[in-house]
Symmetry: C2
Subunit: 290 residues, 2 copies
Amino acid sequence: MYLGAIEAGGTKFVCAVSNEQLEIVDQVCIPTTTPQETLRKVFSFFNQYELRSMGIGSFGPIDINIQSATYGFITSTPKPGWRNFDFLGTIKKHYQVPVAWTTDVNAAAYGEYKKGSARDDASCLYLTVGTGIGGGAVIDGKLLEAFGHPEMGHVLVRTHEEDTFQGSCPYHGNCLEGMASGPAIEGRTGRKAQSLKKEDSVWEMEAYYLAQALNNYTLILRPDKIILGGGVMNQIHLFPLIRTAFEELNNAYVPVPVLEQYIVAPGLGDHAGITGCLLLASTLEVEKES
Amino acid sequence: MYLGAIEAGGTKFVCAVSNEQLEIVDQVCIPTTTPQETLRKVFSFFNQYELRSMGIGSFGPIDINIQSATYGFITSTPKPGWRNFDFLGTIKKHYQVPVAWTTDVNAAAYGEYKKGSARDDASCLYLTVGTGIGGGAVIDGKLLEAFGHPEMGHVLVRTHEEDTFQGSCPYHGNCLEGMASGPAIEGRTGRKAQSLKKEDSVWEMEAYYLAQALNNYTLILRPDKIILGGGVMNQIHLFPLIRTAFEELNNAYVPVPVLEQYIVAPGLGDHAGITGCLLLASTLEVEKES
Ligand SMILES: Nc1ncnc2c1ncn2[C@@H]1O[C@H](COP(=O)(O)OP(=O)(O)O)[C@@H](O)[C@H]1O
Ligand SMILES: Nc1ncnc2c1ncn2[C@@H]1O[C@H](COP(=O)(O)OP(=O)(O)O)[C@@H](O)[C@H]1O
Ligand SMILES: [Zn+2]
Ligand SMILES: [Zn+2]
């Protein structure tokens, strides 16, 4: 029997199948078009295997409230065709197995917690800085979820005094995502983030915005580790800039681990999400058997 | 046998003893002077009773990390005599009973969760707005703690455009506590918060700062309820102002409960903390017996 995992992104779906030792035996990458077309390909991939359980980490917002009539749905996404799509229900109609259902960033946080940079920590927070900004946290082995899942990418930040960019978030303008996502960098500079020089002054602004958010996450959650992933964080020179800005904002107020071990890159690289989905699927197995 | 509770504040210690039904049978209020003098009075109160367990909710910052050499200490407080005081150790030397050890605001959050405004909710956040600003959260029955306890009162806020006050936080200047605590209101207006008219423009600023923090707490934790206590919140006309400012900031982005039921006053009034301490003490009993 196999474990199935879907890392469902706005651009592509990564689907993987692993054995019970969590070794991936097959994997496919499917472009995210319409739900019908995308899911047809998802099914033809997984139909090849006898699955014990599955884990889904989906782009959102999604409904994770079991009591809700729209539990398992992707909710208010602007992505054409996906708004109010019953993702979990559609999967469950095809496969009569237990399915773990959470956000893509929660799955990545779980992967990093179990097998990545936070594998020796009691808690961690994972933040992706890409087309959007989103975060998830694991505390004592449990994903942080309550009335809904976190939307950490939209916290308020103070505008940098030399920044004239108005912000790109359709809901809040100059929230963190509006000021520090890949598209925000592009909106501010007129150039793709990956084409900018290390010396560009935009990186110091970027670090200032991210450090503000990390400062708030620290004060509210006190995680043992903060892991920064996503396309923008390929600019690894950002890490020391963020640590320095964080240190200034915290001003030695809250004790945190040594910064080089506190604010870090994902140990699993781009595989945090899919690994987390498999791990979540394996947890279901254990629960079922106990 | 009795349960003991200490709500240890910077101004006064409230000590209570209850029966196993959590009905308070005796209570005393002791001014916070030196640790020696204060604790002497604490002991002479509790020495009258045979205790099964105790719960302490202390002003902070405190060390809650069981692995730490200073576990149970009050750590970096500016309060004379209390810095690096081994509070829990001193109590445990006198009473050989299990002792729950957490912050005053965590205890209040726990009290409100079990018996107060959030008694029907799966999670809640409690924020006190007084001499300082501090918060605690309970999610699925568990206090939110990781590398340390939250310090939610010091999150960053954007300065209101008509506000010229520089902020009163010794660490951060214009963080939430620096801009919205009782002393911040006094610093800005030159008058005690309780003497200001309802019509004063300072309340709209106050609501703006608190709403920013509530917006961030919501995005990061997604609590089912936010409970606002502390001296400043005696100004009950603040509640509708805060809800309005929150609604504007959220801009319908994250779904939250109906605001009148989401941002509320403590159901236990001033007794949230001491009730939470008793409840935490009773939890220990149950664990010990199981
Ligand atoms: N090497 C890079 N340096 C800086 N920015 C990058 C880099 N690679 C991708 N990005 C930016 O990251 C964003 C894409 O984020 P990514 O995490 O790859 O995917 P997504 O968030 O869409 O899942 C784009 O805005 C892109 O400009
Ligand atoms: N009715 C009131 N209206 C406004 N502010 C008040 C009121 N009562 C107390 N305060 C303010 O609250 C602060 C004291 O907070 P409180 O929660 O009572 O105690 P503490 O935080 O010291 O434990 C003081 O700054 C005081 O000015
Ligand atoms: Zn936003
Ligand atoms: Zn501060």
